[in-house]
């Protein structure tokens, strides 16, 4: 089982009374846990708020933890999460609970070096194990803030897992991006989730998965392929209103021309290599700077430094982070401006940026945020202390709700607004019913948790329908 201390206790409960409060403006207050420690109502509200956004949902035990550590104490501990180091040792993650550790170990596709062997594994299986790892970590990891940031960056640097890598020859015709996604998670997203933005961009631009997804392995001098260059500026760094021009796009494409994926794609780790014969020579004007290196492979680093430290990047990434934690429906303009300054002054240090957001008044004053399907699903699993393998029907539920992992085709990632998701309630209710009636394969409820969650509510209905009603309620859709 999972870490019982953290998870055995039944989770976020409902206040007594069957009818939701018609005048309640903040529906999450229905899910405050019982009073077991001395704390003011304000402390409790802020704690639940923090854990709804910076974690994947509160549990009673976690609320008690935060109340004793203090908001800032918990945030500091989370920011000091051990890094996911690159290398075989990380596969056994001693910093996680035994339950999570055990579950992750049952996913062989995620092993470092597994990419050597993946040719014989079907793509659906690779995708399934990758998705399972994300579901498991989000549900059970004690480093919830790190997992939230992994979610944010995975979406920010979205890679469509099913895109067929453009074949450069017969050898590569069967090379699929999906096989590189595990590596992208392990070497790009996870180790840098709480680190410096420039380090993250630098890792991403060296990721075979990203290079393949945005066609740069086919970007050659002559008629360059602009795909990666454009998304690097528009989506990864400066933002669409960041002040770059079509000429900048073209010239970044020239800088990136010649960077490709080494032959033998699957035999080695498929590293990104530089083929100078395909690199566009000569000076390139990028964002007001001339880039012209005798060694063409050095130009990429110049562009990385240029875009990572551009003031538009500080504004764009800060704004997106504030929206991620505060939602789009609140007035956060002032916060965004101050976070952009923190970003710029700290060289994009995520610990500083996150500390400022999560301790700001604007964060605690922000209106409820509509849960994306993934967030809804994980919050349900946490609230019911469900025991899941992350494999099988639970992933189909995500797909039906509209958010299968690694399967958003476009590089902008899943949207994060209420309007995008709110029109699709029926699959959520069906999920609540399936979970409530314990009919999801490899996923089992904790009866004690369910009793706690449903206490005093819908007393005339069956246990399964009581839980369904709680999870399907409008209140549970908001974080």
């Amino acid at each position: 089982m999972l870490d019982r201390r953290t998870l055995i206790v039944a989770t976020a409960g409902l206040a007594a009374g069957c009818k939701p409060n018609r005048t309640s403006l903040d529906p999450r207050q229905n899910y405050l846990p019982d009073r077991t420690t001395k704390a003011t109502d304000t402390d409790r509200r802020r704690t639940v708020h923090l854990l709804s956004r910076a974690a994947f949902g509160p549990t009673p035990a976690l609320v008690e933890d935060v109340l004793s550590l203090g908001l800032d104490g918990w945030i500091e501990r989370q920011l000091a999460a051990p890094n996911d180091v690159i290398g075989p040792a990380t596969y056994l993650q001693p910093t996680e609970t035994t339950g999570l550790h055990f579950r992750l170990n049952s996913l062989p596709c995620l092993r470092p070096g597994a990419i050597y062997e993946l040719r014989d594994v079907s793509q659906p299986r690779v995708l399934s194990e990758l998705s399972a790892a994300t579901i498991l970590r989000s549900t059970y990891s004690q480093w919830q803030l790190r997992e939230r940031m992994c979610q944010f960056w995975t979406n920010h640097f979205n890679i469509y897992g099913r895109k067929v890598a453009a074949a450069r020859g017969r050898k590569q015709a069967d090379a699929e991006l999906l096989y590189f996604l595990a590596d992208d998670q392990r070497t790009v997203i996870r180790p840098h989730a709480l680190g410096k933005f420039q380090t993250l961009i630098d890792a991403s631009i060296k990721s075979p998965a990203m290079l393949g997804y945005l066609d740069n392995q086919l970007n050659k001098s002559g008629n360059v392929n602009e795909n990666y260059a454009r998304e690097l500026l528009e989506l990864h760094t400066l933002g669409v209103n960041g002040g770059y021009t079509q000429a900048d796009v073209k010239n970044v494409a020239k800088v990136l021309s010649g960077w490709t994926i080494e032959d033998g794609f699957l035999k080695k780790v498929g590293s990104v290599i530089f083929d100078k014969t395909n690199h566009a020579r000569g000076g390139k004007h990028v964002l007001g700077t001339i880039i012209n290196e005798t060694k063409g492979e050095l130009e990429r680093d110049k562009v990385v430094a240029l875009v990572a430290n551009h003031p538009s990047t500080a504004r764009f990434i800060s704004g997106k982070l504030v929206d991620f934690y505060c939602g789009h429906d609140s007035d956060t303009q002032t916060l965004k401006e101050s976070i952009a300054r923190v970003f710029q002054q700290s060289g994009g240090a995520m610990d500083k940026v996150l500390r400022h957001i999560l301790l700001s008044d604007a964060f605690y004053a922000s209106k409820p945020k509509f849960r994306q399907p993934f967030d809804y699903l994980i919050a349900c699993l946490r609230a019911t202390n469900a025991d899941t393998s992350g494999i099988g029907n639970i992933q189909y539920q995500l797909e039906r709700m509209g958010q299968p992992l690694h399967q958003w085709p476009m590089p902008d990632g899943y949207p994060d607004t209420t309007t995008a998701w709110v029109g699709n309630m029926i699959p959520r209710w069906q999920f609540a019913l399936d979970l409530g009636s314990n009919s999801i394969q490899n996923t089992k409820l904790d009866n004690n948790a369910v009793k706690h969650l449903c206490r005093n509510r819908f007393t005339s209905a069956s246990d399964a329908e009581r839980l369904t009603a709680v999870l399907a309620s409008p209140e549970f859709q908001w974080a």
Binding site: P368, Q430, S437
Partner: protein
């Protein structure tokens, strides 16, 4: 952007619920309402006009679907991926434009006057970003109207909302509400009709209804609309649906979406506008010629449209389909034998009211000085003219230019049989 369309239906079938005290909708009730096909209650002549919007995400290469073979420059720009002339297999449309051979099944609809193409159509906005272009086009947020937050179709639906609309009046197939419908009165987002059902007891549904009646957040409103949709969908059994007139839909996302769109229209559950997405059009790499990557997408698109028009049969007299995309692609090919983001592109319109058998275009030419830097087809038709006329055709003349597209200086496009404005 991703090049490969997402495969359909790779997931396992939804689980059946066999929990004590609960059941899915009993088969006996379904059959007593519906008969075997589930849609025995089709009205022979639905009174209301219907609109189907198919959005090709990723910027479809208009110069490959509706090929300007009569412009000599075309052959210079596309030395490797050009499609030649009618002598080499292109399907001639009017002596200047030719249809991609993979879309051959559309030719009879063109010849019958039901189908028209629009070329050099696009936005006045210079962006070559997919996301910005889609956001602009789906809202109609051009020039001084950039602050518009609602979608163009949402505004058209609002302006013509009947007193007691069907909960399925506006449907979007997919998982997300498209910007086109942002702000529409209770749009329904449906991944597949099969998902639009809820197991459990009647008591559970009553409890859910009570919960969603007790508040006024966006979730409450959406939940109540979803409950009305569930009631309406109880009348449909998609598994028993057989397309009419031997129509065969391609086994693809587009094919399946259009099949379900036909089912909805014919079921007469009040669906007036149906929005569908098609992905995979961002052909930066080896897009192919008369065969290859794009040809595959064209075969799929044309096959799906052909099957849909055949399937709905006489309802095509009341139904107009528009196939749109956010922009066209660069005219010169790139080093990877694909094409990068460009400006103007090509659209299709099919069905009711279309001035068919024509390629509507004021051709801007492909000489260097005629192209938009860095090599893109100039926009000579503002897409808003076409969408305005289309909205008036479908929803009536109560829709004004000022309400639908603030700031538009309307110019008749000639795409429809009579411009109503």
């Amino acid at each position: 952007m991703g090049l490969t369309p997402r495969p359909l239906c790779e997931s396992p079938a939804p689980q059946l619920h066999s929990i004590a005290g609960m059941s899915t909708l009993p088969a006996t009730i379904l059959s007593s309402w519906l008969g075997a096909s589930g849609i025995t209650n089709v009205h022979s002549a639905p009174s209301e006009n219907k609109l189907v919007v198919l959005f090709l995400r990723g910027a479809m290469d208009g110069a490959s679907l509706i090929v300007p073979y009569g412009d000599d420059e075309y052959h210079n720009h596309r030395r490797t991926i050009g499609l030649g002339t009618p002598k080499s297999g292109l399907l001639d449309l009017d002596g200047f434009y030719g249809l991609h051979p993979a879309a051959a099944v559309l030719k009879p609809w063109y010849s019958k006057g039901k189908l028209a193409a629009i070329h050099a159509i696009g936005s006045m906005d210079q962006t070559r970003s997919h996301f910005e272009a889609m956001a602009t086009m789906e809202r109609g947020a051009e020039g001084q109207a950039q602050e518009l937050s609602s979608g163009w179709l949402a505004r058209a639906l609002h302006a013509t909302q009947p007193p007691t609309p069907s909960p399925l009046r506006s449907v979007a197939f997919g998982s997300l509400l498209p910007d086109t419908l942002r702000g529409a009165p209770s749009p329904s987002v449906i991944r597949t009709i099969n998902d639009v059902k809820l197991g459990g007891s009647k008591a559970l549904r009553r409890v859910i209804k009570q919960l969603y009646e007790a508040g006024d957040t966006a979730a409450h409103a959406s939940g109540l609309a979803a409950l009305r949709v569930l009631d309406a969908m109880d009348k449909i059994n998609p598994d028993a649906y057989i397309p009419a007139a031997g129509a065969t839909y391609p086994k693809s996302l587009t094919g399946e979406s259009l099949r379900q769109a036909a089912l909805l229209l014919k079921a007469d559950v009040g669906a007036t506008s149906i929005f569908l997405d098609s992905t995979g059009w961002d052909s930066h790499v080896t897009q192919g010629t008369s065969s290859g990557y794009l040809a595959g997408l064209f075969t799929d698109l044309a096959g799906a449209l052909d099957a849909f028009a055949t399937d709905i049969g006489p309802m095509l007299e009341k139904t107009t389909i528009v196939v749109m995309t956010e922009f066209g692609r660069r005219i010169p090919e790139n080093s990877a034998l694909g094409t990068d983001h460009g400006r103007a592109g090509a659209w299709l319109v099919l069905g009711n009211g279309v001035s068919g058998g024509k390629v509507h275009s004021e051709w801007p030419g492909l000489k260097a000085e005629q192209l938009d830097s860095p090599g893109d087809l100039r926009v000579t038709q503002d897409y808003r003219n076409v969408l305005l006329e289309l909205s008036q055709l479908v929803f009536g003349q109560t829709i004004t230019s000022a309400a639908l597209f603030p700031g538009l200086t309307y110019k008749p496009s000639g795409v429809f049989q009579k411009a109503l404005t």
